[in-house]
Amino acid sequence: MTSVLPKGFTMMPVTRYLTGFVICAPLLVSLLGIKHLLVLSYDPFISSWHQYWRFAVFQTAFQNESEVVVAITLLHFALKHLERLYGSFRLASLLIWSSLYNVVLVSILSFLVYRVLGVNLFVSAGPYGIFFTLLYLYWQSTPSIYRFELVFSGVPGSPNPAKLVITDGIFVKILMVQLFVSDGVLNSGIPSAIGVAVGALIHSHILPGKSVDFPLVIPFLRRYAARKPQPTRPTVSDVQDESDDERDATAFRDDEQDTPIRPLGTQLLDTFRT
């Protein structure tokens, strides 16, 4: 993976929230005991019980922790790239577009397969489609940085040693395969393949998404961006260099009005700093 990306989620709010969502949604779902509501297959949910809302919710959360781990790894090592490439606004629109396309394609496919072939498709719960759409776009925009060869000597009967040429993308590919087959080749493979197809359609501008902002999301994001940038707190290393007097002066400056707004996470950690 690449080392040029900044550490953590600096200046990448959409990726940060997406990571939080991918982790928290399954936790919340199993805490509420509603895992079974995210399961989707055409028969009986749609054909006899008419639970069309299942199309809307099946992408919200992964069912198993291994899928969450793989997805988070992919997000952190590869898909983070996309936010730098597209910008936060467009990535957010892209996420919404691709989730909608995936819902539509999955519902059409499962309807056709059930009606024409008589096969009942079972679709794994989780944002497989969205992830593979993003991964497709990632592959289209990321050149390989280096390549290396694995040389196997001693294949009997052949004069030349066998060579395997591998690029740096192999690690992401391994994770992709892992995510693709994580819930069975068919169950998770179908939404993943649809995701790849959506990615290809978006990339070739057949479906709008890559350059068209999603109407609803923009005002919300503009408000987010318009917020005053948070003043940074002095870090531990800064404080250590200060003399006692200086620290007192800092404390004195720290009046109630001037206290920077600290998010909950910082406050939580601050309780352990003396």
């Binding site: 079974h36 639970q51 909950l264 406050q267 309780t271 352990f272």
Partner: protein, 809 residues
């Protein structure tokens, strides 16, 4: 180091108690010949009983089963059991008391109650005979004489009746003929060997119904009263736990399944508790359930088929029971089984006939509900009906008891679990909110000055509540496997709140207050005011010995008397660092936590009255967590302590669960409605908060009489013109001071803006206290804005102008 060792010891003890199971199960096979013999004979006995069950037909009379040899008629005629089998009972089985242990009147009552919705069992032919029974009046008083069969069409019955039902019972005020149920000879022999091996003191193995053993110590009736299942009350509460354990698809059973019942009968005050374990058969086609106990003296579960009153149900019961019995091999019976059976044989045997009401749903709808509860998928289904028993008969053949069960209502286990889950989730939200409030409070008071205002014990009480809540959650997460996730999360959050945040806060508070000298109420109130030297003289007059050590003013006051300081310095003082302190606090808290949690657990098993007293006392004491803060405010004369968001938020968050338990009817913890308790708690907390508000508005000691008051330093004194002339912090150049209509303007040295001071004409003419809140005068006679000096005093208790030390607010 000593503390650390103590901690280790405590943890070791806790660990050991948790890890090591109770005393090892008695290894009866080593060196106890009697038990080995008994086990072998028990195995033989069980295989015989199984043979009787498998080979029996409806036509054959009840076979050679322990406790079932004598029929009710035999008991009436006092036949000797050793003469079994009786010759006059070889013919085909008949449904009457000649052949069965059920008396005819019990049979009639049972059939009536099983037929209460639809006639599924043929009624008796000899009803007139029963009505002439001498005790029929007593019976019909409880059971009602007329039988009305509800003939209207009804929906399907429950297929699976796993759940717990709560209702009432009524006992017929008459003891009927006891059917003798002696222990089989090998069990008697075993008991005899027990008794010879034991000292007389713990001779608790008594042979039931064996007159010779009673002669020694207690009169017969006394023993009878103590027996489990021998209900002496005429009415009380009845709780039935039902579990479907069998497989409903057994061939020939037509859906009838084997069920297990746990019946708990208590009087209203829950002083006597009778718990009985029954097993039997449930017929989902008619909603009828027939179950009996099983013990060493009564092999009831093998005789179940004949309690079904007709041949069809006989065959279904036989199929269901045979299938279940076949699942275990006779060889798997071990020594513990002997003790279980002997234990059970000390109590009364019980036979239960229960009729479950039909639901108002069709069979398909019920199947949908059953499937959904068994394997949730989000199926569309009708709202889930309750499980209800309209009528039931409990009969004890060996104690001669006849009990009517009424109004039993409950929910399916899964529905009940779902309800508890919702409550636990709500608790998670509350815990989360409490954590956020605590964090905010902690970051608002992170300086020694602000920390020193806060009462250690207020936080300690909250910590005790949260910690024991976390412990109880942890314990119940082990018990309720179905709700493990939710309970574990609650326990984790409670633990985080109690032993991370609140504990950290406690340690901070403790270390910041560690150097305070011990003070008592009297001392604090008599304590020297900073600007009033007269007090010192008064003190000396009152206390000629000048026992200064106990008379120390609260905190570093700027005029500490030299001799007092000397005396305190002479006292040996243990210097504690933060680690030692935290170790000690952790140790004490965990000790109290464990003791308190076990006390609460234990109290939940107490009789009703004791439990209610305990509940009132504990809840009122635990909900007085603002009292230490009020006390501390008064002692230190400080007006502000906790942020108001924390005070209100915490109080509300802690009242919500109690309010839920006391106000919501049918809550899953089956806590009774108790408006008195909740209103007491709300009023009590309201009073505490109101006092805190008043303390903030009028000063911490507003409620004390005036003569006690001028003891702590008053930062808002009445300033008179005379004071100003005596150089009260004011530079006497006319540029800086402006006298205008009883007001004076001075520069605040912190913000460099003007402070407006109202000037009283003379010392008698007091200005309103609210006017005086605007400025503060230090003991060294410097004047500041209240806001300016208070925010400065968060950081340092030192005058910003002359560096004299300041008494805390």
């Amino acid at each position: 180091m000593v503390e650390i060792n103590k901690t280790r010891l405590l943890f070791f003890i806790i660990f050991m108690t948790l890890m090591i199971p109770g005393p090892a199960p008695p290894d009866g096979l080593s060196g106890n010949g009697a038990k080995v013999q008994a086990l072998q004979q028990l195995k033989d006995d069980i295989s015989t009983s199984r043979g009787v069950l498998f080979n029996s037909t409806y036509e054959q009379p009840t076979g050679n089963l322990t406790g079932l040899k004598l029929s009710y008629q035999d008991a009436l005629e006092h036949r000797n059991i050793s003469l079994y089998p009786f010759e006059d009972r070889q013919g085909p089985y008949e449904e009457n008391q000649r052949y069965s242990i059920l008396p005819n009147y019990v049979r009639k009552l049972a059939i009536d109650s099983l037929n209460s919705e639809e006639e599924t069992i043929q009624a008796l032919e000899f009803e007139d005979e029963i009505l002439e029974h001498p005790k029929w009046n007593a019976i019909s008083e409880v059971f009602g004489s007329d039988v009305n069969i509800r003939a209207e069409s009804h929906g399907a019955f429950w297929k699976n009746i796993t759940g717990s039902l709560i209702g009432d019972f009524q006992r017929v005020n008459h003891t009927f003929e006891h059917i003798p149920m002696p222990l089989p000879p090998y069990m008697k022999a075993l008991l005899r060997s027990y008794n010879t091996n034991r000292t007389e003191g713990d001779d608790n193995w008594r042979e039931p119904n064996d007159a010779s053993s009673f002669e020694r110590d207690v009169p017969n009736f006394h023993v009878d009263e103590l027996k489990t299942g021998n209900v002496t009350e005429l009415s009380g509460n009845l709780k039935v736990n039902i579990q479907n354990t069998g497989d409903s698809s057994v061939e020939g059973s037509n859906g009838s399944v084997r069920v297990r019942l746990q019946i708990k009968m208590t009087d209203i005050d829950e002083v006597n508790i009778h718990s009985l374990a029954l097993s039997g058969v449930y017929h989902p086609d008619s909603g009828n359930l027939i179950a009996t106990t099983r013990s060493a003296k009564y092999a009831g579960s093998y005789g179940i088929p004949h309690l079904n009153f007709d041949e069809t149900h006989y065959n279904r019961s036989k199929a269901a029971m045979s299938d279940w019995i076949n699942q275990t091999s006779v060889d798997e019976v071990d020594v513990t089984m002997i003790d279980t059976l002997l234990d059970a044989s000390l109590g009364c045997e019980m036979i239960a006939f229960l009729h479950f009401n039909s639901t108002n749903l069709s069979a398909d709808e019920m199947r949908m509900i059953d499937d959904e509860l068994w394997n949730p998928l989000g199926r569309p289904h009708k709202s889930i009906p309750p499980i209800a028993i309209s009528s039931g008969v409990l009969y004890s053949p060996d104690c001669g008891l006849l009990i009517k069960a009424t109004g039993l209502v409950g929910e399916r286990e899964e529905v009940q679990n779902k309800r508890i889950q919702r409550v636990v989730l709500l608790g998670i939200i509350l815990l989360f909110a409490q954590i956020i409030f605590s964090i905010k409070q902690m970051s608002a008071t992170n300086t020694p000055s602000t920390l020193s205002r806060i009462s250690f014990w207020t936080i300690a009480m909250m910590n005790l509540i949260d910690g024991s809540l976390s412990m109880l959650y942890l314990l119940s997460s082990i018990v309720f496997q179905k709700l493990y996730l939710q309970l574990a999360v609650s326990s984790f959050l409670g633990f985080t709140l109690a032993s991370v945040f609140e504990m950290r806060y406690m340690i901070l508070i403790y270390t910041s207050q560690m150097n305070e000298r011990d003070i008592s109420w009297g001392v604090a109130l008599r304590g020297t005011a900073i600007d009033d030297r007269n007090n010192e003289r008064i003190d000396e007059r009152e206390n000629p010995n000048n026992n200064v050590g106990t008379e120390e003013p609260l905190l570093p006051l700027n005029q500490a008397r030299p001799q007092a300081v000397q005396q305190t310095q002479q006292q040996p003082r243990i210097i504690q660092d933060e680690q030692t302190v935290s170790g000690q606090i952790y140790l004490r808290l965990f000790f109290f936590l464990i003791v308190f949690s076990f006390l609460v657990l234990n109290a939940s098993l107490w009789p009703r009255k004791d439990r209610m007293v305990f509940e009132y006392v504990v809840l009122l004491v635990l909900n007085s967590f603002w009292v230490p803060q009020i006390y501390r405010n008064t002692l230190r004369g400080s007006r502000r302590s906790f942020g108001w968001d924390f005070v209100i938020g915490t109080s509300v968050l802690r009242v919500i669960p109690i309010a839920y338990l006391c106000l919501v009817k049918n809550n899953p913890f089956s806590h009774h409605q108790d408006q008195l308790l909740i209103s007491l708690i709300v009023i009590w907390l309201g009073i505490q908060i109101f006092v805190l508000v008043l303390q903030e508005l009028f000063g911490a000691r507003f409620f004390l009489p005036d003569r006690l008051l001028p003891k702590s330093y008053d930062y808002h004194p009445v300033l008179t013109a005379g004071d100003l002339e005596h150089g009260f912090g004011v530079e006497h150049d006319d540029e800086g001071v402006h006298h205008e209509d009883g007001k004076c303007k001075v520069d605040c040295a912190i913000c460099m803006n003007e402070v407006e001071i109202p000037i009283a004409k003379s010392s008698e003419h007091l200005t309103n206290i609210m006017n005086r809140r605007g400025y503060m005068v230090t003991p060294c006679r410097h004047i500041f804005h209240t806001n300016c000096l208070e925010s400065w005093m968060k950081y340092k208790l030192q005058c910003p102008v002359c560096r004299n030390s300041l008494p805390p607010i």
